[in-house]
Symmetry: C2
């Protein structure tokens, strides 16, 4: 089967890359302004937090996308999907780590990804309070603050990993045993929020990210970032849950560790 | 038994507070300069990393302390203890989270504490790459970037905690069962490096920090920060290990959660 992305003209991919950075610049500006001026917080029906910044950023990025690519679809955490049948789909989580954001813990970030017929084309993770951005576009490489990232294939000696919190492993079905197998096999682990864990795996600061039970917007940038950095990305499970949509689990990072972890969690 | 710290004159405590901030300012300056100019990395006999920045910062702080308080003792991670019988002891870890530091992951920090006859008098956690500092001095309160911190006594609804990685729980004796009990009871956990976990507990961004099997310099600031913020701090275990010195485990943060966690880990 031919990769459908081969049909995208190179100049179009360059346009996507520029627009991706425009979106990330704008979300960073809005988040920083909100941090300086203040914002309101509410609790969603699923008990997670949402702020006026989450909704403001997503609304603004949707307006920009409507101008840039009026025929593309849009999927975001805070509003209904738009043009779900379009070939190109922009997927975003305006603030991943809202709990950290409301406590001014700087590990939150914005996730933006572009997919073409289900395959990743571009992705960015932007951390407004860390002055950190990791972005990648198909064939153009993965960059950390503008500098090219190339993952070493050899895992580092201490085998550090990041993984989702146990709450993720048990929230749709009880995979507590997987959490325990991974933390036993790799005791030198970190548990950050999704987006920071993904950034660390993409730049090689951990050997692998074991990401469990997340929505599509949480993983919107992870695959293209990892693959363009020279790493590998494996979706280890997809669950279709009525009322929750499709839930993804994935393992990605340095190829040797990914291979070992995929066997472990299988 | 009277608290020995009551014998310290208030003006002396104010001097300690100013000098603590001088030390934190200087370590921040040195770390930021090193981040801009580069540094060398080596592997210690225990397989942990050390950089020229760890040793440079500790040496510089030792020189400053010799000038400020020539009769005080000094304990640091990288060099032998000085005047171990003095009443006042400055305790420091120049860079906690060296693994993060060498990968430019901004969650590393400097830990500085002052003890008087075994009781905490002042402490600071400084995060040069996060523009974050939490510091406290006896009776003068706990401050985050200069602003007073007061812990809410009621834990937040989602009961977020931070804890040490499993590697800590199993590194001197096998307390893997404690790690599993804590992560099961509080699945919405984070695992950062020591210093960031401590800062989050002191400012109330998590309900509690469960800190397992650490050296004295790792915990040098934690007790005074937590207590001056209005939280509680409980040492749950001390181990004396030949060749490793004394190893501490502690639970601290919002009083209601601390009480519950202390029962859980007992």
């Amino acid at each position: 089967m031919t990769d459908p992305r081969l049909s995208i003209p190179p100049e179009q991919i360059e346009t996507f890359s520029r627009r991706l950075l425009d979106l990330a610049d704008e979300s960073r500006r809005l988040v920083r302004t909100a941090l300086a001026r203040g914002f309101r917080t509410a609790i969603k029906p699923d008990q997670s937090l949402v702020t006026t910044v989450d909704t403001d950023v997503e609304q603004r990025l949707r307006v920009m996308l409507e101008e840039f690519f009026p025929e593309h679809g849009i999927v975001g955490e805070e509003f209904p999907a738009l043009r779900p049948d379009a070939d190109f789909q922009w997927i975003m989580d305006p603030i991943d780590g809202t709990e950290e954001f409301v406590h001014s813990i700087p590990t939150f970030g914005t996730i933006i990804g572009l997919y073409f017929r289900g395959m990743p084309v571009a992705g960015a993770l932007d951390f407004p309070a860390l002055d950190l951005r990791v972005h990648a576009t198909l064939g153009l490489g993965c960059h950390r603050n503008g500098e090219r990232v190339r993952l070493a294939h050899a895992p580092d000696a201490r085998d550090r990993i990041s993984l989702s919190a146990r709450a993720n492993f048990v929230r749709y079905r009880d995979d507590g045993a997987v959490f325990e197998a991974v933390t036993r096999a790799c005791p030198n682990h970190r548990v950050y929020r999704t987006c920071l864990g993904h950034a660390l795996a993409a730049v090689g600061a951990v050997n692998v990210m074991v990401n469990w039970h997340n929505k599509i917007w949480d993983l919107a940038a992870a695959q293209i970032l990892t693959e363009e950095a020279g790493g590998s990305y494996v979706t280890v499970r997809e669950l279709d849950l009525p009322g929750n949509g499709r839930i993804y689990s994935a393992v990605f990072g340095k190829p040797a560790t990914v291979e070992r972890m995929v066997k472990l969690v299988a």
